[in-house]
Structure formats: C-alpha cells, structure tokens
Symmetry: C2
C-alpha cells in the first residue's frame, strides 16, 4: 500500500484544558518527519478555521516554541463550541478536497468525536481517502474506552490542591465549607477533591456526584453527623447533582431565573447559586435543630480555574503529548481512523498504554464514575478511587501534620 | 536591666493565610534558646485559648515538625474572630498573671493589633510587666507601616496564577471573563491579578479596586472599548467596590437578601452574586447596543482558595518566618513592645528589613493601595505596581508565547 500524500490539519474543540496544547503539539511532533505529509496546518478556532479556511503553518515552529506551548494551559489554536450540521460537514469535505487535506486530527470531547465520525463516514461514502483521528481531551474524564482522559489529571490536581488548602482553613475555625466542582453528568472531578487528603480527619468529609440521586433531606443529616463528630464539615459537590427524578438540584433550589446554554441545558457553571443555596439549607437545618446557635458556613464555586490553572500535572502533560504522538503514528501507519484512548496496564507501578479505538466507540457517549469508586452511602469516594486517582495528579505540595490539639492541656 | 523570666504564648487570630504558620513558627524558633523563657505555649483558637486556658506545649515540637508546619497553609493553632471586650481583656490579664505569662505574640491583622494594644495599656496601668508583640498577617496587605504584609505574597501568587490561566482560556474563545477577588477596603489583592501578565495582549485588561469609586455606566463603556479592540475582555474586580456614595456595588445590584457578618457589614465573600450581576450588566450593554448578538460571558468568584491555596510564595514564607523571628528577638532585647513591619530597602535587587513599630501605629488602621499604583482612568494598575508586586509572589509557572494568529493565512 502506497503512502497517502497530502496536507495535515490539527484543531482543538470545546472547553480548553491545562494540557490540550500538549496533545496537538504531540501530533505535530509525530508528523514532522513524515515526507508524505506535505503541510502541517493548525485550523484556528476548531472547525471554524476549516470552514473559514484560516490556517497557521505549524511546520514553521521551532522545537523550543512547540515545547513551550506544550507547557502552557488552554489552546494556542483557539477553540469553538460550534457543532457542525450536515451542510457544514459537506463544506468541510470540500475544503479538504480543495487543499488536498488527507490527515485530520481533532482534539476534543465526545461531541467532537461524534462530529469527526460523521464527516469520516461521509468521506468514505464519497471515496475521499482520509486519516481521521480523534485526540481525546476533557477535564470531565467522561470518554468511553479511556481509563482517564488528557486534561483530567491537571484539573483533578487543581481540585485536590484546593480542598487540601481549604480543609486546613476550615479546621482552623470549625464550621462548614462547601465547594462546587465542574461535572454535569460525571463525578470524576468532584471525586478528585479527596485526592489531597493527608490526615485521618482531613476533608472533604462528604462527596456528592451526579451518578447518585441527591436527596436534600439525607444531605443535611449527613452533614449533621460529621459536624457533631468533628465540629466541622468540608463538602464537595458536583455542579450537576440531580434528584431521583433527574431534575438538577440547582433548578430545584433556585429562586431566580436560570440561563440556558446553546444546547438548551440549564447553565450550571458561572453561577454561585448552587453553593449559596446548599449552604443555606445546612444553616437552616443545624440552627433550626439548635445544634449550633450561629453557624459559620461558607460556599465557593470553583469555576473556570479548574480547567485553566497553569500548574499542570506533569503526568497529564506527558500523557497528552503521547496521545497526540500516537495519533500521528497511527495515521501514518496505513488506511485507518479512530480515537486514541489511554488504558491502564497496572496500578503499581503506574503504567498506561495508548490505544487506537473505533471512533464510534467514543462518539457521543458518556462514561460515568464506576460503581466501585463511590461508597455504599453515596456520599464519599472509596479506596479504589484513591488508588486509581493518585497517580494522575503529579506530585503534590508537601504539608505538615497540624494536629496539635492532642496536646491541649487544661492547666 | 535583668532578664524577664516567665512563660511565652503565641496565638493566631482572624482569617488564616498560606503562611501564618510560618510566622508563629518563627516566633518559637526565636525563643527556643532563651533560658528566661520557661515555657513556650500555643494558645488554641486565638484569644479563646487564653480565656479557656487551653494551651499546647511548643517546646516539645521537633525542628522537623516545626519546619513542616511552616510550609503548611492555615494555622495549626486554630483561629477565632472573637474580638475581646473590656471584661475579656481583664480575664486575659488574670490568666497571664496566673501562669506568669510574660511574653505574648499575636499574629493577626489590624483588629488584632488593636486588641493587643488595649491589653498592653491595661497591663501597664496595672504595672504587670509584659512583652507584647503583634506579628503582622493579612492577605489584604492593608496594615500601616508595612510595605507589604506576611500572607499577601502567597494570596497574590494565587490571584496572579488564576488570571494567567483564565486569560488564555478566554483568549481561546473570545468573549468576557470577570473574576471577583477578596478585598473589602483595599485593592492590593485584586491588583495582583496583573502580576501574571506575560504578553502584550494579556489580561486582565481592566482592574477595579475599592480605592476608586465604581461607576457602572463607565464600567460597561470601558469593557466595550476593550472588547472592540481584542474581541475579548478579562476583568478583575474587588469584592468591596463601592459607588461614589460609599454604597457597595453588590448591595446596589443585588435582588436577593444579603447576609450581614458579626460586625453588621454586608457579607461580601462566600457569594457569587457580584460576579453574576456585573456579567449580566455587560451582556445587557453589549447585546443591547448590537455590538454582539449572543455574548459569551463568564464570571467567577475566587473565594477562600485565595488565602488557603497550599502552594506558598517562597518569598512570602521566608519573610513570614523572619517577621516571627524578629518579634522574638525584639521581645528578648529589653522592655519593649510593638508590631513587626516589613519595610522595603530596595526594588532592585529586591531587599526588605524587619522593623519594630509602635502598636498604636498599626492598631485599627487601614492602609490603601497607593495612588501611584492605580492608573489615571481608575481602571487598571500602573508599571509602579508591577515593579512593587512582582518580587513578592515567587517564581511563576513558565508559559509559552501563544500568539499564532499572526500567521493566519487565507489560502
């Protein structure tokens, strides 16, 4: 089989991560020495750059520049949330033909893999030979076939660090702290709040994920139990928690109007309303029952810093580079297409492999937190989760044992 | 003059910082070899530990433990916001006499220095010899006599890193990003949002601090200007911004009820309402004027992570240790009292000194962002601020030049 000669394009789609640059840089590195790949172009702002024929020449970049970009959060190629319709798909194919683009690499989540799959099928129908690759990316960790996804480790590192710090802050005063984490349908990022735990009494003491129906009555009783034991309680909550009927808790508790996103879903990020409402419910319960007269209770919504914090997980960065390199290598290997997944070989020592899986196995599907990662009560993670998650976030900032209270002496 | 023999206590008061442990560890280090200091005790939960006679024995701690604690955010001694009244002050003096406590070190902000000053005056009136020291601490950087305060550098490091990351995230999509930073009366922490700027077009493009009256009409026009130039705008806002009559903007824009804190002030932290409301006003303006059809606009409220993030500024940690050590050294030097301030010797090379100043010079006063740190328009910081602030936050995560757009070619 002869080699397929033509140009390559890479693009990034959807919400950036701290390491999505590393993924596309990995693709470029992997293609650089291939003579059959005539041009290596970046499409600016995802598929919009294809539709508008706006490209940058990535063969012109020095190794130093590419390496620096791989260490930088967000995406130097820009992004978009534009989901192409049938007409746009046709237009893209025309652009591919016009410029003899034969290698296509799209970094994104399950929406992106779905778009790539549709265009790929259409190209096959028109007998236009393409190497079409999905380079997996999402802080939500919710792609099928993957043990974890590029971008998750860095976002998880941020969430773990955040709770490691606020837990000590909360311990200094006592009372309640509640942090709302990203994750509409999958609780991986919220679960990462536990990865910074260092001591026996470390928070978060309670963790709520969208995989389990959220019961407000049970929630306040859970908090009461922890508060009575520790004089404090640190809680991690997914923005996407829902009741047993599938109604978002934010919607149930909200008094004001909620904004809808472009898909018609209630906008969960970019509002502090869920944290405020849950903290209010806890206050109502603990003060109402006379357990505490005036409760110290605080809530934060972590927001966009989770995906954009510049201190990447070094493990995540290396793996993201390798996902990109593997995509390039596979594309150069013959008449193939697919998505590159990270699969775990062993926990100890931690080892993964990078595997080509069918586009259709990933396209448009959502992976959820496995049952064995959530405790029976549905209000915390398990040891199995800790074992799985700890290798992903890189080395954590060291902290010291703070429990001086054991030495308290009434003189 | 003979040496004053007796016990020493250290305590921490008010909101923790990432380095307040370093300050009290510095005190303990400084006292450890002094024979006249019989016991070195930590009072648990600030002045509450004095009133309840709950102490821990800090002479029992190993050097390794103390060093580990100095690297840990928040305070291992616990804290309180309890502001003592006249009766409590008398009670504390009685406890000092009962246990022959002669050396007192309180780490805290301007409220704490005020309390210490009052107790100190009372001890003098009763002719009870005390060495009374205020160990300055606050993420707000608002203590008189100080170039900057222990705790500020680490919080500023967090805010700078946060904007460094979200600015790239915003650049990938375009649109508006607004982040609300801590700071009721002083804008130092919000100003730190600029310290992570790396490139010509880096955000934040607009910075609003409480030192300048906030005008909502001017604000949306400021945003419009930046948006028209860059297709995007990143904005940093202090939680404490007020209009020209001194009314908090949060209060002006809020539709719901606002919680009051124990001093009767409107609770500014722990609510996402200001970010949400300002983003709404920007959307209303830009969409209303037809400048953009559907604006992508996001707001985050940074919350407690600003003061508790575990990755300390190394500069801040070292200085905090030295403030504590200096307090101990001064206390051992003779019949003195005071507050330890950080004063700048030179900008390049960056050098500071640790100076004893009168308690009354710090007590209950608020320092504001100097005029020369705010631009004439009142919507950004100046180069003078950048020069002042950059040495305080430690080494930043390196990021690469991302501006590939200059190479865009319409094929």
């Amino acid at each position: 089989m002869g080699k397929l000669e033509g140009n390559a394009i890479v693009f990034t789609q959807g919400g950036p991560t701290a390491v999505i640059n590393a993924s596309w840089v990995g693709v470029v590195e992997g293609l650089m020495d291939a003579e059959e790949v005539t041009g290596i172009w970046g499409s600016m702002h995802g598929i919009d750059g294809i539709l508008n024929e706006e490209f940058v020449d990535l063969r012109k970049q020095s190794v130093e520049t590419l390496n620096a970009i791989a260490h930088t959060p967000a995406t130097a190629l820009g992004s978009t949330r534009h989901k192409p319709n049938a007409e746009a798909n046709q237009k893209m194919l025309e652009v591919f033909k016009k410029y003899n683009i034969r290698y296509v690499f799209g970094a994104g989540g399950n929406d992106t893999s779905e778009s790539l799959d549709i265009i790929n099928d259409e190209a096959k129908a028109q007998e236009y030979e393409l190497r079409m690759f999905h380079v997996s990316k999402t802080v939500d960790c919710d792609l099928m076939e993957n043990d974890h996804t590029p971008g998750y480790g860095s976002a998880a590192r941020y969430v773990a660090s955040a709770f490691r710090g606020v837990d000590l802050d909360n311990k200094a005063f006592g009372g309640i702290y509640l942090g709302v984490c990203m994750g509409r349908h999958a609780g991986f990022l919220t679960a990462a709040s536990a990865l910074g735990k260092e001591f026996k009494d470390s928070g978060p003491h309670l963790v709520y994920v969208p995989e389990k129906a959220f019961d407000l009555e049970k929630f306040v009783v859970d908090v009461e139990k922890v508060y009575k034991e520790h004089g404090r309680c640190v809680i991690a909550v997914s923005e996407g928690i829902e009741d047993k009927n599938g109604t978002p808790i934010l919607q149930l508790l909200s008094t004001g109007e909620l904004e809808a996103d472009s898909h018609g879903n209630v906008q969960l990020s970019g509002t502090g309303a869920l944290a405020d409402a849950l903290v209010g419910k806890i206050r109502e319960h603990l003060e109402g029952k006379g357990i505490v007269k005036k409760l110290r209770a605080r809530g934060d919504t972590f927001g966009y810093l989770q995906r954009s914090w510049p201190d990447q997980s070094s493990v995540d960065r290396e793996e993201s580079l390798n996902v990109g390199r593997t995509a390039a290598k596979e594309a150069l290997s013959g008449n193939v297409d697919g998505s590159i997944a990270i699969q775990r070989v062993s926990d100890e020592p931690y080892e993964v492999k990078f595997v080509r899986v069918p586009l259709k196995a990933v396209a448009g599907k959502t992976r959820h937190l496995p049952e064995e990662f959530i405790n029976a009560e549905g209000n915390n993670v398990t040891d199995a989760f800790m074992k799985w998650g700890l290798p992903l976030i890189g080395e954590q900032v060291k902290i010291g044992e703070l429990d001086l209270t054991k030495m308290v002496e009434k003189k």
